[in-house]
Structure formats: structure tokens, C-alpha cells
Symmetry: D2
Amino acid sequence: MIKASVIGATGYAGAEVVRLLALHPEVELVYLTSQSYIGQQIDDVYPHLKGFVNNVLVEQETEKIAESSDVVFVALPHGHAVSTGEAVVKAGKKVIDLGADFRFRNALVYEQWYKVKHGAPALSETAVYGLPEINRERIRDAVVVGNPGCYPTSALLALYPLVKEKLIDPQSIIIDSKSGVSGAGRTPAIGSLYTEAAEGIKAYNVGRHRHTPEIEQELSIFAGESVYVSFTPHLTPMIRGILTTAYATLSDKAKSLNLNQYYREIYAREAFIRVHPEGVWPQTKWVLGTNLCDIGVAADPRTNRVVVTTVIDNLVKGAAGQAVQNMNIIFGLPEKTGLEVPPLYP
Amino acid sequence: MIKASVIGATGYAGAEVVRLLALHPEVELVYLTSQSYIGQQIDDVYPHLKGFVNNVLVEQETEKIAESSDVVFVALPHGHAVSTGEAVVKAGKKVIDLGADFRFRNALVYEQWYKVKHGAPALSETAVYGLPEINRERIRDAVVVGNPGCYPTSALLALYPLVKEKLIDPQSIIIDSKSGVSGAGRTPAIGSLYTEAAEGIKAYNVGRHRHTPEIEQELSIFAGESVYVSFTPHLTPMIRGILTTAYATLSDKAKSLNLNQYYREIYAREAFIRVHPEGVWPQTKWVLGTNLCDIGVAADPRTNRVVVTTVIDNLVKGAAGQAVQNMNIIFGLPEKTGLEVPPLYP
Amino acid sequence: MIKASVIGATGYAGAEVVRLLALHPEVELVYLTSQSYIGQQIDDVYPHLKGFVNNVLVEQETEKIAESSDVVFVALPHGHAVSTGEAVVKAGKKVIDLGADFRFRNALVYEQWYKVKHGAPALSETAVYGLPEINRERIRDAVVVGNPGCYPTSALLALYPLVKEKLIDPQSIIIDSKSGVSGAGRTPAIGSLYTEAAEGIKAYNVGRHRHTPEIEQELSIFAGESVYVSFTPHLTPMIRGILTTAYATLSDKAKSLNLNQYYREIYAREAFIRVHPEGVWPQTKWVLGTNLCDIGVAADPRTNRVVVTTVIDNLVKGAAGQAVQNMNIIFGLPEKTGLEVPPLYP
Amino acid sequence: MIKASVIGATGYAGAEVVRLLALHPEVELVYLTSQSYIGQQIDDVYPHLKGFVNNVLVEQETEKIAESSDVVFVALPHGHAVSTGEAVVKAGKKVIDLGADFRFRNALVYEQWYKVKHGAPALSETAVYGLPEINRERIRDAVVVGNPGCYPTSALLALYPLVKEKLIDPQSIIIDSKSGVSGAGRTPAIGSLYTEAAEGIKAYNVGRHRHTPEIEQELSIFAGESVYVSFTPHLTPMIRGILTTAYATLSDKAKSLNLNQYYREIYAREAFIRVHPEGVWPQTKWVLGTNLCDIGVAADPRTNRVVVTTVIDNLVKGAAGQAVQNMNIIFGLPEKTGLEVPPLYP
């Protein structure tokens, strides 16, 4: 049994790690930490877990936790995972950070967009960007995994096949994403109230969302050149789910290709990616509660552009599920272990 | 492996049986029938199932299906299960009917409320009302199970402990239920449109909903007298879920009892019932996607009444999940088999 | 032109008073106060008002405000309206309080349920309970109006015709209410988040909601005896709206009556009440954005009970609209002035 | 008083025309037609209108209707307005068609995208495209107005200022739109059910939605060259509202401009357009129930693109409200007449 602990278990991402690990046949939950609910059982804070997990929430004593765990999931606001990560690594254990602290190869980019000093740039450089469909081999040997952001997961899985084969002009990319409200977390804020978020949609942080440099970092690696994208996130009235609609101008190389078939081939062995037939455009609900990423793709000859849509559950493939997938890879388990439930529909 | 077929696999209840059996370690899906989608794969009709089930939907040839199956789930509109049930029984197999055709001991009551002739009153008399928490022993040996309606499941689990121990005046019962829209099925109707059902709530079929006599039949058995209830269903803007709020006047016998503790004791061994502490009132989302029934209960000394609230997922404990639970009982499996996933929250 | 000010203009109820007065042909808005947004324009806080109202939000300097106003609307948390009310009365102006501070004839009842000392019990005794359909004559001459709570408005309009004519046993009343999330106000709280409130329903404060004594106070006046009710509020996934389902046992006197027709007659001259034909049960959306109260009513001979459902927009007839209606009465205007917009549907 | 009739009064767009004209001080409703509800009162079909409009729905006898009316609003499925339009014109009256039949200058384009023969290409050529902010002068004298589609309204108001001043490369335009479900009308369809549309988002008709050529026709006029766009509509879980996010590459000419200020100037005299300050991105709810179009705009120097978002209520500015605005222009009334209600928020 893998001994796993979760730092920050009462935010939505952390609680979702707990929910998934509760099902996982090879995992034993050791410590769950919280700031607001120390001393309470997690199933009092989250009654849906009653009968499944009843750990008492504890303070974050990192060394003690690292010692008793094989892997530590960190689900803290950015800036708070660095020292935790260092301590766990020092204890010789694995870290999977669901925040932004270990996603950037270049700490300066992180510092510029997140407006905080990075406490351990060297450790960050050695961390692996945990998108298994692309970095699987490197994740296997990772000590620290920077688990991708929700938007970047949906955007990169949409664009990877196009960029890596130079089927598009990488400077023409436009990424229009629509996220459910759980992406904003459980901290009360006016904009996340039912009254404010239901029955309406809005763009936010246009041109300056912090997931932009993360997307650009990875696309630049695929492209072998510096890529800049237009990225617009939208707050959408649904609890879970991200739909990303990506646009780009096709290169000459793409012209002879059936893009839909190409996507099906490139992702054929992926357990969590489902490419739909041409003309079928997935809906976020088709993946609800699962680690799946569904893809629709078609060329538009009228404009010489390609349109790709991807849908994920932002709390699963966009956070906790992908973290568990990464854990499975690190510990040599089949990637689907503990992640086999079909989507909940309708 | 239990060989199971589903008649009417493309309605919401039928598709949910399929989704649950896809996970079930002891079941093999044999035939899935449909009227509207014959010849298509079920995962083309319901793309969320892609990668999980890909049976081709077939016409309903009952004899052939019965022959190849150990158990047949029937998810048809009322009136259509009778002849199917007869054929399956004739073939020596088990029937679990998710509709109303086998729920009534007295076919006349059925005929009066459903306005159709019952084709096999004798078979109906031998069917077992499939509420495992109450009829578990009889279900074990059942050939035909009349799987309870969604509202009756929530109402009966709320009231059973009170009525059977005469803790309330059985003629004082008021049942105010709130259901999600999936209860209305997948057949397009104006009242079920997003535009009409979102952001509003309404009562419907006040005093004349067809689940009323079903509730009364079972309560009368518990009480040992004819019980009549006020039952008001409400259409609530949510996809899944039923919340039932039940009210009744306490008898003298109840006065010395701690009702909350009594409920905890009476349901202590039930795998799918969670009684919450006094003052905690469950929310439908705490059971989303699962076969659980959560209960809140408290006496109100100001009015000498008791208030009980129960929440279920109408498509799971209120339909498909309970059907699978009944199958597990019939085939001697642990009741939780295939039904162990924690609720999806938020 | 009536000079009107709003104390607490940036909560939902206060902002709704502003939205309605912006349309009102006989009103000039003088001061709008806020605690959190002093110095900002109200249309920066609420951009939907851009082009309609652009007052700068000011601190609450009550005397100055009272001096410049004919009427002061108070939309503060309970406990905070008392001193404001006193100051406005002293200045010889009218007060319409949307909170609970002036709703109770007996300050002790208020203190017991609201757990705060009432600062001006004598003033409270002279205040008029602002339900125009019942207290119209007394409102005309009121100096202080205690504007009814949202739940009580829906419950009292449902039950008034029954109780005052002794058509029911007043001790048999059960009130099951379903409210939209705006009833919880704009202050961020976990339970009001989209993620927590969408797609689920729950009962809360069962048997101890603060609107209970308010309902009982008025019903007791109608009945001429002390009435106690079971009242259960439910948080429902919609922004606006309250549906109240009320149940009671019919008296002999009711037996010869056509209740539906009786309701139509008793409310025939009311501008804001629409009684629907027997068998039509209103939906909250039928009154969205308006001061209307729609009613459905029918006797149930099987149980000898009556079921009444009422729907209102909790922020309009349940708060700001009723306050404006009260203002119209006090200032001798037709009650519909400024309240004539049809509901928004779908 | 203007005598107005509505052909197709029981679809959402038609019923919204009725709701708005019920408020309109200069209009008398003459005939309301329906196919499904002939002989019923409109307030029985739409109870929210009870007390506001009670016309009996009649069959469409066009000549009789035209004779008794000054203006006829047509809210029929495409293909059905042509002969109606011809008859009304023959009677010397005005036609405002909310469908697609009179939107295209070139009937061949219509026929290619809508797959039906156009019955009166010559009449279509003389019709005026009813976007008042751009075609106000020509609308004044129009006999037939082709009222714009909902998506085109939001897209054209977003892009008009950029295209007409050549501030962008017109061939670089990408339009990503998110619409509420009422855009799909009131005809029951699986995809419009609450269960299917709530809590999820999807793209549809990617690259082949029928509003594409309408957008391109108008943009080509602004640009003075043939413009082709990528247009992707998305079905969003809200009843009303469209948010359009438009992207384009800036031309050199744009570089010295403050785009936000430019938008404020160009739309300064428009009664229904509100340009928000830089960094404020409007939400569909800010315009709910009104004829407003709110705009957010900013240049992104990182990518040399501009992002514009517009929000409208698809049933008002995207259909019925714009139709009333056009009527006001034709009959010489102030454009805001009957359209002055502030948005409903929250």
C-alpha cells in the first residue's frame, strides 16, 4: 500500500484527492491537513464523505508527515508549496503539487506572473511538469511533480498534436476557455456566490491570467520556439468542467491530413483521452467526475483554420485526478488504477 | 458472472442501470434494448459511456433475451412491463421492473391511479416490493421485484421507523417532496426544458400524483391500518436528487424517545443509510451519484410534531441503484457490490 | 416628488429598492449609504445600474439624511435599524424598515428569537406591519413600517383567507417554503457559493427559523387565538423566488365552499395578487422581477386538508417591492406606481 | 397609437415582443397568432402575462391582420416569413421580421446556408438590415426590416468600430460566442432539456452555423472587402444571454489609439450601448431583460491582438427588443420608448 498524505485537504482540489484516494485500491491515507478545520473529522466538514473517510484533520507538521508518507499531495495556494516540497524531498519522499509553485522551469517567469519570490528555483528546475500524455517517461522518475493547471491541461491536450508536428502557425493560437465555478475554490467571494455566478457568463483576467505563461512554456517546448497565445478564461455557470475552444491557422503541412484521424491515432493508447468523430463536439458533462479528456477537432477550409475543443472535469483531470494519475505512474501502477468510474450523466 | 439485460436502456433510468452495471464486477451485460435507437451503439447515444460499454441497441425480443439472461431489468413506461415480466418469468429468470407495473399488491389500486388495465394481476400479487431496508428477506427469494418509485423510496425510508413503532399518528402525515428534473425522463416536453425548469420551482399534481397510493400501500402495511397522506411533489431546478420533508404529529409513545438516536439504531446496519446528528439536515448533493439515503430528523416540541428529511439520488437509490441492490440480494452478493463509489461533491 | 434615501443600498434588498425607485415616476433618490463602498458610485458596485442611477455612496449620517428625505428605507441587518428609525421619526419623516426590528408588537418575542436586546420597544409597538393586502388602512397613517419578511409574506398571503374565516384548524398549519439563494444576502458565505448551492436542495433552521414567530404573530391576530406552526425553509437552487406550500386541516365550515373561488373573491381587488384556476399551481418564475404574488389552492377530499401554494419574488414582494408599495400607500399614490413591469419569462 | 400584430406570438421571441409591447405607451396590440394554441388566451399559455395581456390567439389570416395593423412583427421559423412579408407590404404596412428571411442582400447566400429556396429575392434586396446603431438612417424609411440574428447583433456591435476604421486585419477575426438556451426556442428537443443543458457547456455547429454568412455580409460592408470569419457558438447553461468574445490582429493604424476610449466615443450617443472602462469585462446578467449591449475592450500588446467582449439579452437586443427599437425608429418615436426598464440583478 502506498502511504499518501494530503496537505490542504479541505479545499476543493484537496478534498477531491481525498475522494479519489478513498476509492484507490493501493493507497492508504495517512495525514490530511487543514488550516480552518483542525481537529474535526473530514467527513464532518464534507458530509458526502461520511462512511468513506473519517480522518481527523491535523495541523501541517511537514517533517512528521513526510516521514510517515510515501507521497505527499500539496493543495495549497501558490507560494505555500515551496517549503513543504523541500521538506518532503529532504525526507526522500515524492511530492505532487497541485499548485503553481513547481510548474515553471524558469522561476523568473513564475515570479513575474505570480508576483511572489520563488523560494527554491533550483528545486523547481528539477520538477517535472505532470502532464502524463506528454511527459510520461519523465514523470516515472520524478521526485517533484508540478501538476498542471486546469486550463493548461485542456489547452495543451488540444494543441499538442498540432504544434509538435508543425501543422499550425504557433503564433496564431487563440485559446478561449470556459470554466465552472469550482475553479475559484471554496473561499467565499462575492463573484463565486450562486446569485452572482448562476445564469450568466463573463470573461475575466483577459490577457493576464496566470495560466498563460504555463501554456506558453509548454507550447514553446513542443514548437521549439517561443510561442505567445491569446488566452481568455470565462466563468461559466456550472460547478465542474472546462471547455477549451482553440483556434489556429493551418500550415501547408496540414492540408493533406485528416486531422480528426490524426488525433485519434496520436492519442490511441491514452486511457483518458477520447477523440470523437468529426462533427461531434464534446460537452463538459460527458466527462463529469472522471479523469477523461474528450476532444473534438475539425479543419475549417473556409478560413484555413483548425478548431479544437477539449472538455475535462477541472477538479479531476484538471487537478486531483491527474495528480493521482501521476502518482500511479511514479509508483508503477496502471494509470487507471482508482480512476475507473464512468462519468455521471445526466 | 450474472448475465443481465436491460429493456429500455436509453431512458435515464435504463441508462443509469447500464452505467452502474458497467462498473459491477459480477455482471456481464447481454442485451440492451431501445425503441428509438435500434442498431446504434449505446455509447453513440450516450457518449459519456464511450470506453465503458459499447453494446449495440437491439429490438425487444423478450424470449430470446430472457433465454440468454439471468436477470432482466425493465425500464419502460408503466403498462409495458407486464407482458415482458410474464415472458421472463416463464423462462425461469428474474425480473426487476423499475416502473409501476409490479409495485401494487392490489391491481385495482394500480388501475384506478394509472388509468390502464393491469394485464397480470396474479403475477403482480406475487411480486415483491423492492425496498431492501424493509423487505430484504422477501427480496432474496423474489422472482419479480417491483422496484419502488423515487418519491416512495425517500418517503418510506423517512417514515418507516416512526410508523412501525407507532411513534406518530399515521393519519397526520404530510409529505412534501422536491425532485430534480431527471425524474421527468428524457422525452422532450416543454416543462422539462432548461428555459422552463431552471431558476424556478413549482408544485405539480397536487393531491393526485401516482406515487401517492404506492406510499400509502406500504405505510398501511407498517401501520396495520389504512393510512392516507398528503403528498405534494415539486419540480426543482437540479438534474438529480430528491429531498423529502415529512411531517407528523407525535404520539405519547414518542415523548420519552430521542428520535435521532432511535433512527441511528434502527438503520445502524444499513450500508446505504446515513443518519446525521440532530440539527444536521442533509442536502441532496451529499448523495449525488450514489445509492445512499441520508436522513435528518428532529422532534419539534413547540408543535409536538416530528420533521424528517431524506435525500436520495432519484436515478440511483430512487431507481437504478436500488434495482442493482435488489439484484445483489437476489444473487447472494454483498449489497454494496458495484455501488461503492463515494458521492461527487461539489 | 418624494425624496427617498436608502440606508444599506449595496445589499441585495437595498439595491433592489434603488432599482425600483430608479423607475418610479414620483421619486427622487437623495442619499444612498453603504459601509463597504463609501465614495464609490453605486453603478460601479452594481454595473447593471449604469445609465440609471449614479449616486455616490455615502456614510450613514442619519440626521442629515432624515432632514433631506421624506422617507427613509432601511436595509440593514437586524438590530441596526432601531436607532436609525428613532432618528428619522424624530425628524418627522417616514421609515420603512426592510429588516426585522419593527415587525414585532412584542419586543420580547423579538429578543427571544433574534438574541439581541431591542433598543426601542415602545417605537416598535407603534410600527405597522407592512403587509398591504391586510393592513392597508393602518399603513396609510404609519410613521414606521416594519416591512414583512420574505417567508412571512408568502405564508400569510397563503393562509389569511383560511384563518380569518375559520375555514381551517389553525393549530394544524404546516408551512413548507422553498427560497432562492438571494435570500441569504450578498455577504460571502460557503453555503451561498454557486458550487455549494447549485444543483441541490436542503432544509435549514428546521423548527427554529426567525420568521416563525413573525408568521405566528400575524396568524394569531387573524385567528383571535395563539397559533403555532411548523415552518421549514429550504435553500433552493435559484437566484430569486419563494414558493410556499401550506397545508391545514379543513373545518366543517369549509366543506360547502369552493375554496378556489373564495380566494379569487377575497383577493379580487388586489393589484398584486393573481389567483390561478383550480389545478393550476404557480411557478416562482411567473412573478420574476415583480411585486406579484400568485396563488394556487385546492381542497383534498381524501385527507380533508387544503393545500395552498404561493409564489413571490423574494427581493420584490418579499422585500423591496413591498416596501415601495408601502411607500405608495403612505404618500397617497396608486399602489402600482413604479411597479408595473410584467414578469420576465422565460 | 401604433397598431401592432405579432405573427407567431407563442414562441419565445414572439412572446417577448408581446411582453415588451404590453409596456409600450404608444402601442395597441391587435392580433396575436399561433399555430398550436389557437383559441386560447395568451395569458393561459404564458401565465406570467396574466393581468397584462389577454388577447385570444388566432390563426394567421395575413390579409386581415395586415389591414388592421400599422406594423406586423413576424416571429416564424425561417422560410415562413416571405409570403407573410409580401402580403403585409402589399397592404402598405410595415414588416419587422425576427427570422432570417429578410436579412440577406443576396438571396443565393441565404439559400446556400438555409437550404431553402427564397420566395421573394427582390423584396429581400429592398429590406433593411435592422441594426439601428449602424443602419439607423435607412431603417427610418424601411418598409421591411430584417431584424438581425442574436449572435450577429453581439458580434457586429463588437467589431463594427474596428472594421470600419481598419484598425484590424479583417481576415483575422475569430468570434467565440456563448448563448443561453432560450436561443434554441420553445420547441421541445433533447438537447434543450434541463437535464442535458444544465451544468455543462458545448460548442455546436462549429464552422457551419447559419449566422456566419449574416455576420460576414455586414462585416464585408464595413470593410469594403469580402470578409471570412471563424465563428463558434456554444450552448451555455443560462436561460437568457449571449456573450461574444471577439479576437483580431491589430493593424498599424490601431497602435496609437486608446481603443477603450475610441469605443466610448463612437458609441457615445447610443441609448443602448454601454462601454465599460478598460479592465472591466461585462457579464451577461448586467443586461438581463433589457435592450442593452455592454462592451469590454482592450488591446493585448503581447500578441498584438484586440479582445472585445459584448453581452446582450438574446431575446431582447438579440430579438424582440431590437425589433421594438426598429419600430420606434420607423414611427418616429424616441428609441427607448417602452424599453426603459433597468436590468434585473442579481
